[in-house]
């Protein structure tokens, strides 16, 4: 459907334009009539002067037509005026022979008008009949070229046309004002809706909108409430499921711990218990990852819950994650290090989400190494953002997999059993929710993966980082 603006413009401006066009055609015709009438009056006046002079003189004088007869026409259009006096028989008595005789002479004082040509130029002619005292009568013809007529008609038409144009301009200006002032609340409303984060379940404020939009807002808010209720129920379900699973896993872990401590149990059965414990840990990891995904989703739907904005020191988080993963790196024979560290980087993000990003990326880098190698972590400031770069010397990710590794449950190498393919999708979703971005590329050395995460810094650099007792 076309926009409101274009519809309004079409319905107001187009009829105006059509009306204007019709009116101009009508005006053109009437100006032609007025101009013709004016010309006729002049021609008639002039012919009468000549005719009355002849009647008074009882014949055509040697001096010809009186000059007064032509003074009437004095104008700047350089029209040419012709006259001819003819007897009742049509014989030319005085004047210009080039002027054609009338088709039918006027009766008595009646005059006739007609169009003709004199030496190729169009003229309007009046033929005026005059009774003489001797009972005979003559016909006086006066003709004028059409230049003045056309100029007069044009002037009249232009005056009207100008008025129309002014009117149209006024209407157009009025429309612009209408768009600006009347549609502004609507535009502001649609901008407000567009500005909301995708997936947001915030209520729309009904205060600052025109009454006509209230039903729309009520409908949207009602929909949001219903959706929120559904989502909340879903979240409660997820939370209570997670709670029960964790409790069951906790019991299982305790039982396994107890079994492992029993001196009477032979080593091969202890190995079995250890394997079971490992499986339990993996299950726990998946529960935790799913909960994190749910909490990111929740954060997106209710951004207001984050107030006041948190502030976290990136370097501290990265350092503690490296320390936590050091034993894993040792086990995989991977040399782990922090090669660039900018101490002053404070991010407007909850520290547990930053920890999650860092942990998943470094954990991934270590576990995907296909032999001894190294993982380098760098924390730098690049322009107005923080750059977290993790470079490994592993096999890397083939370019055709790079877009898909961020999908949930996608695994570039399905043969690897120890992952469920959630780690990178969590990283990606956290990045999105924090208005950051993540890029994968081949490291500068031509082998291995380089992951660049860019995150916005906290606006106020004096903000105190939130610290978590560990």
């Amino acid at each position: 459907m076309p926009s409101l603006k274009s519809r309004l413009a079409a319905w107001v401006f187009l009829p105006m334009l059509i009306f204007s066009a019709i009116d101009l055609v009508v005006t053109y015709r009437s100006t032609d009539r007025v101009a013709t009438e004016v010309q006729r009056q002049l021609l008639k006046g002039s012919a009468r002067i000549i005719a009355e002079q002849i009647a008074a003189d009882d014949g055509v004088s040697a001096a010809g037509a009186p000059p007064a007869a032509f003074e009437l026409f004095a104008d700047k259009n350089q029209d040419r005026v012709f006259y001819a006096v003819r007897s009742a028989t049509g014989r030319l008595i005085d004047g210009d022979a080039a002027l054609a005789p009338p088709q039918q002479a006027g009766q008595g004082d009646q005059e006739v008008y007609f169009r003709s040509r004199v030496r190729g130029e169009p003229v309007r002619v009046v033929a005026y009949a005059q009774e003489l005292r001797d009972g005979g009568h003559i016909t006086v013809e006066v003709a004028q070229t059409m230049r003045g007529h056309a100029a007069f008609r044009k002037r009249l038409f232009l005056i009207t046309a100008r008025e129309h144009l002014i009117l149209l301009a006024l209407v157009l200006a009025g429309l612009v004002v209408a768009f600006r002032w009347m549609l502004r609340p609507l535009m502001e409303f649609s901008e407000r809706v567009a500005r909301r984060q995708p997936g947001s379940l915030e209520q729309l404020d009904a205060d600052a909108v025109p009454r006509e939009l209230l039903p729309v807002i009520a409908a949207l808010n009602g929909y949001v409430v219903r959706l929120d209720r559904t989502v909340s129920a879903y979240e409660r379900f997820v939370a209570s499921t997670a709670h029960h699973l964790r409790t069951s896993f906790a019991i299982l872990t305790s039982q396994l711990n107890y079994g492992m401590r029993d001196e009477r149990i032979p080593p091969e059965q202890k190995a079995l218990l250890a394997a079971m414990q490992n499986t339990t840990m993996q299950g726990t990891k998946v529960i935790n990852q799913l909960l994190i995904l749910a909490s990111i989703e929740q954060g997106r739907q209710h951004p207001a819950r984050e107030l006041p904005p948190p502030a976290s020191a990136l370097n501290d988080i990265v350092t503690s994650v490296i320390e936590e993963l050091a034993p894993l790196a040792q086990r995989y024979d991977v040399e782990l290090g922090l090669d660039a560290a900018d101490d002053g980087l404070v991010l407007a993000a909850p520290s547990h989400l930053l920890r999650e990003i860092t942990f998943n990326l470094i954990d991934n880098a270590i576990k995907h190494m296909d032999g001894p190698g190294s993982v380098s972590v760098q924390v730098q400031r690049v322009e107005d953002r923080a750059l977290l770069r993790i470079v490994d010397t592993g096999p890397g990710i083939a370019p055709q997999h790079r877009d898909r590794v961020f999908e949930r449950f996608y695994r570039a190498d399905p043969a690897k059993q120890n992952s469920f393919g959630l780690g990178l999708s969590i990283v990606k979703e956290i990045c999105d929710s924090l208005h950051g971005d993540i890029q994968l590329c081949t490291s500068a050395r031509g082998r291995g993966l380089q992951v660049d995460v860019r995150l916005p810094l906290v606006a106020d650099t004096s903000a105190q980082p939130q610290t978590l007792a560990s």
Binding site: A239, A242, H243, H244, R246, T247, F249, A250, I251, L252, T253, S254, Q255, N257, Y258, R261, Q277, T280, T284, N288, L291, S295, T319, I322, E323, A326, P327, A329, Q330, R331, E335, L336, G337, L338, D339, A340, A341, P350, S351, H352, S374, S376, Q466, L468, A469
Partner: protein, 227 residues
């Protein structure tokens, strides 16, 4: 454990409570069980404990309320929250409410006991003479390192380095801090010399389940690893 530490385990899941009690008894703790907040509250009016293990989702009286009540009564008993709820927002809140530490379910008994030990050590106000990392134990009274039950022979300088690492187990110690730990012995140590001690210590710790890990750009870290 010379002195039997007395713990209050507040956990509404009876299975989990029973198994944790068995495990903690094995490790020498005396454990009393409470299955609701109300029950825990009653016990706390008449008994004193060295530490409380507190679940948050308790029937009748929630863990949060119990904790607040405890702290309002100026009862400074160390509280370790064990919870299946896991939002970091919650954790921060509870630590602000006066919990001393937090452990998410499920947890390994070794992790729980390590946290308990450090909690009890902190609350007793004096450094414990025993420091451990995996199979490596150090008694600061006798100044002896042991791996499992075997005494680990070290030179005075190795001793200083290993003790500094063990005191901050799980955290990196910068080369500068390690060098500083040797100043007590009136030694000025070059980074090269320090590396020599590290190499020697590593050799002695081989197959012990404990390793000195180098973290490029950060320093050295002592950590339990798979033997």
């Amino acid at each position: 454990m010379i002195l039997r530490m007395k713990l209050l385990l507040t956990e509404d899941n009876r299975d989990l409570s029973a198994w944790l009690t068995r495990l903690l008894n094995q490790s020498g703790y005396a454990v009393e069980q409470a299955f609701s907040g109300e029950e825990a509250d009653l016990l706390l009016r008449t008994q004193t404990y060295d530490a409380i293990l507190l679940d948050l989702t308790l029937p009748l009286l929630s863990g949060q309320t119990l904790l607040r009540r405890l702290r309002n009564q100026d009862n400074g008993v160390p509280v370790l929250i064990i919870s299946a709820q896991d939002s970091l927002q919650d954790i921060v809140e509870h630590l602000n409410l006066g919990a001393d530490d937090y452990l998410a379910k499920p947890f390994d008994i070794q992790e729980l006991e390590a946290r308990l030990r450090s909690l009890l050590r902190r609350s007793s106000g004096k450094a414990s003479p025993m420091v451990s990392c995996g199979n490596l134990h150090y008694d600061s009274n006798s100044k002896i390192f042991r791996i499992r039950d075997q005494i680990l022979q070290v030179t005075p300088r190795e001793h200083a380095v290993l003790e500094a690492l063990l005191r901050k187990v799980g955290k990196t110690v910068s080369k500068q801090d390690l060098a500083d730990s040797l100043v007590i012995l009136n030694d000025m140590v070059t980074p090269k010399a320090l590396e020599v001690y590290i190499v020697r210590l590593r050799k002695k710790l081989e197959n012990s389940g404990v390793a000195i890990i180098t973290l490029r750009g950060l320093g050295y870290m002592l950590s339990a690893v798979e033997a």
